[in-house]
């Protein structure tokens, strides 16, 4: 190396300079931006198409929607107030806030109509179409007023209008906004350079938020500790949360959530059609110790899909207590005992946390004599299998459920996939009737009563064994303030968050 010819020496110097510049360029982060770590990358910034939780939560920041929900998950106005003209006609009047699109256009009733018409057009294959089928027509009255005409009366109709509004110019031209947004929300889109970094900007004070995708839990935690990421929400095992709590430089906050985890059964399977088996399983589970040792501190045992503080939530209920002895008796009465054990197959996704929970459930069921075979699959296969009814037991969660319309979607006998999400093929005339009665009742108190009866019936029939409502937690560096966790786990706290440099 001592006697390089002149040209080579320059080449070497040039290369080193480039390498240094490269390293510097790649390692200068924007320190003013608030960096939010994500376990899953967002998939689409088009509210007409996004279905995954991460995309939906980010889209809430970028777009406005007609309605939103309060603490008891009742519908409240967001972009618009509404008025029920008659049983099948609602008039929405746009308010003043959130009317400016990122491209400078003014949000009017035409944009509202265009967005919903686009979704209702079957040719566009929007996954949200199914929830809006009751809409017969949308009429623009003036710039600030739009009417929705329904096919059937539905007192809860406004709660379906949660889709972010896109400009009419986008909708009519058939444009799909996957990789950037044109919304009128509190935030505007800045950049999405790679799969792992999405940048948006808060309009009122130009505060930038960077969403950084880090799959691995250890890496995400280390990034938080080293300051490469400023905040993390959810998606960490309890041990790592505890690890963060012990650290001086990190603040950790918890809140009870409304993500409902459950064990689903295939009621067409000869073994599981027997209610005693399902009851035995419910009594065999030691939910308390599972929650205590594996789940966050604010996790609460669940009895039904809607949380207790939901306006239609179950107020009083029996519960399936942990009673392995009783479980064994139930199994015996169904003909299963030591020498003739019940054998079931339990399917789960390949998420390591789900597998961990499933392994524990497998063990708890083994203790009452049920032999469970655990099979884990990649998401696509798993989801396909449960939709097609190719399973005996599976576990999953319903995320952010606010609308009691979910009961029709999940438990009505006509909602078998692909029409709905009644994957267990549950069919009960009592429940079907209660669902319809609740939907049609005009008296609010009567409606609550029907939902109570409905959930009681579901608890008795056990098409699902309800597990728990998982908590949300937030870990932030000490220089972050103002972020509030929200019950359904969305990122609305980013509207208020501040970073002290």
């Amino acid at each position: 190396m001592s006697d390089l010819p002149g040209s080579l020496s320059w080449l070497w110097k040039g290369c080193s300079l480039l390498i240094i510049l490269f390293m510097v360029a790649c390692s200068t982060p924007d320190n003013h931006a608030i960096r939010f770590g994500l376990a899953n990358a967002p998939i689409s910034l088009d509210p007409r198409f996004a279905t995954d939780a991460t995309s939906a939560r980010i889209n809430r920041l970028l777009y406005q929607r007609l309605v939103d929900f309060d603490e008891q998950f009742r519908v409240v106005p967001s972009l618009a107030d509404w008025q029920r003209i008659n049983n099948t006609r609602y008039r929405f009047t746009l308010r003043d806030v959130g009317r400016l699109f990122e491209n400078g256009e003014h949000l009017t009733a035409t944009d509202v109509k265009a967005t919903y018409d686009y979704i209702l057009d079957a040719g566009n294959a929007s996954p949200h179409r199914g929830s809006l089928l009751n809409i017969k027509d949308i009429v623009v009255i003036d710039d600030n007023t739009v009417d929705f005409m329904l096919n059937n009366a539905d007192p809860l109709f406004p709660s379906f209008l949660v889709i972010g509004i896109v400009p009419a110019s986008v909708a009519t031209q058939g444009q799909v906004l996957n990789k950037y947004s044109i919304g009128s929300g509190a935030f505007r889109f800045v950049d999405w350079p790679g799969n792992d970094q999405l940048i948006i900007e808060r309009r009122r004070d130009k505060q930038r938020i960077e969403f950084i995708h880090v799959q691995d839990t250890t890496v995400r935690v280390l990034k938080l500790i080293r300051g490469e990421v400023d905040m993390l929400q959810n998606d960490l095992p309890k041990e790592l949360v505890r690890y963060l709590e012990k650290r001086e430089s990190i603040d950790v906050d918890h809140l009870m959530g409304n993500n409902f985890s459950y064990l689903g059964f295939n009621l067409q399977d000869p073994l599981l059609a027997d209610k005693r088996i399902r009851q035995a399983i419910a009594h065999a589970l030691n939910k308390k110790s599972l929650i205590l040792f594996l789940l966050g501190g604010e996790t609460v045992s669940a009895n039904t899909l809607l949380t207790p503080d939901h306006w239609a939530g179950l107020k009083t209920s029996q519960s399936y207590d942990y009673n392995p002895e009783f479980a064994r008796q139930l199994l015996k009465s169904a003909g299963y005992h030591q020498s003739h054990p019940l054998q079931l197959e339990y399917k789960t996704s390949s998420d390591p946390f789900r597998i961990r929970i499933a392994t524990i459930i497998q063990q708890q069921l083994a203790e009452v004599g049920i032999k469970v075979r655990l099979r884990s699959f990649d998401w696509a296969t798993f989801y396909g299998d449960i939709k097609a009814g190719r399973f005996q037991m599976y576990s999953l969660s319903w995320v952010g459920i606010k609308n009691p319309e979910i009961f029709r979607y999940v438990f009505h006998s006509e909602s078998i996939p692909p029409k709905g999400a009644n994957r267990g093929r549950y069919s009960s005339t009592v429940v079907d009737e209660l669902i319809t009665k609740a939907e049609l009742s005009v008296d609010a108190d009567q409606r609550v009563k029907y939902y109570q009866q409905l959930q009681q019936q579901l608890l008795q029939d056990l098409p699902y064994v309800p597990l728990w409502y998982e908590e949300h937690f937030m870990a932030t560096n000490k220089n972050i303030s103002g972020y509030q966790l929200v019950k359904d786990g969305n990122y609305d706290g980013l509207n208020q968050v501040m970073k002290k440099l």
């Binding site: 935690v221 280390l222 041990e239 790592l240 110790s289 599972l290 040792f293 392994t359 655990l374 884990s376």
Partner: protein
């Protein structure tokens, strides 16, 4: 000499431990929620894993897995490979040509890649691991056997046997194979070490044993998720793996040295 005794000793512990472990009332899959991620201490030998299962018991169970897989795969690979390689070299001609080509094609897949692809496509599970590793393993032994046979098939007593009219199969099994057995044995010893690593590697990738069964590779993989709070989950099975493989490799090394000496003596003797 001491080194050899230590390596052989470790190997014996490995095999015996695995076998005994199958008879002991182990707690391999018993979950103790209160003991989740407990580090090794006075009251327990190796701590507990992320489901509160005792690491010691799972270690023994994984030991059995690696032992059985290694010995099965080597037995299959050696028998298939030696027979095919010897046959090929002895019979020669078109058959030899084809076999050599096939060997070349298999050897064109570097290292564990073909095993990964096979196991990945056939589906996870320890049986498929054994099949995949055997399909990949026989080739090395075939090539060795062939090369060795080529060099010994012109030895005097082989030719004598041919002249006497001994059947070809007899020549192969009674004369050729015993002649080449020592280098094959050395290769087999190293093969055991590499299969132990390969099985652990496949289990690490999720293609080998399936939950809740234990393998050193899957224990290491599960442990990497908790490295921040429970490094013992990676270090303990890792240490076990390294110790066993090192011992086998050392033993193979010594065996080869002894063999070289023997061959030197043979050469000068003949």
């Amino acid at each position: 000499m001491n080194r050899v005794n230590l390596s052989v000793g470790i190997m014996i512990i490995w095999v015996l431990g695995s076998l005994i472990g199958q008879w002991l009332p182990l707690d391999v899959n018993q979950i103790h929620l209160e003991a989740i991620l407990k580090t090794p201490g006075a009251d327990n030998w190796f701590g507990y894993d992320d489901l509160g299962r005792p690491v010691f018991d799972r270690l023994l169970s994984g030991s059995y897995t690696s032992c059985v897989v290694a010995l099965t795969v080597i037995a299959l690979s050696v028998s298939m490979g030696t027979v095919i390689g010897t046959l090929s070299a002895y019979l020669g001609g078109g058959f030899d040509h084809i076999i050599t080509r096939i060997i070349d094609i298999f050897l064109a897949f570097p290292g564990i890649l073909l095993a990964i692809a096979l196991a990945g496509i056939m589906g996870p599970g320890i049986d498929n691991v054994v099949i995949a590793l055997s399909v990949v393993g026989w080739v090395g032994f075939a090539r060795l056997a062939r090369a060795q046979t080529l060099s010994v098939k012109h030895r005097e007593h082989v030719i004598a046997a041919e002249v006497m009219g001994t059947g070809r199969m007899k020549i192969i099994f009674r004369h050729l194979i015993p002649l080449i057995s020592t280098p094959v044995l050395v290769e087999a010893t190293f093969g055991v070490a590499s299969v132990v690593i390969a099985e652990a590697g496949l289990s690490f990738l999720g293609l080998g044993v399936q939950a809740p069964d234990a393998s050193w590779g899957s224990m290491i993989r599960d442990g990497t998720r908790y490295m921040l709070v429970a490094p013992h989950l990676v270090l303990i099975p890792g240490l076990a793996l390294m110790t066993v493989v090192l011992a086998v490799n050392l033993a193979g090394d010594r065996l080869r040295d002894k063999l070289d000496v023997k061959m030197q003596i043979n050469k000068s003797g003949v």
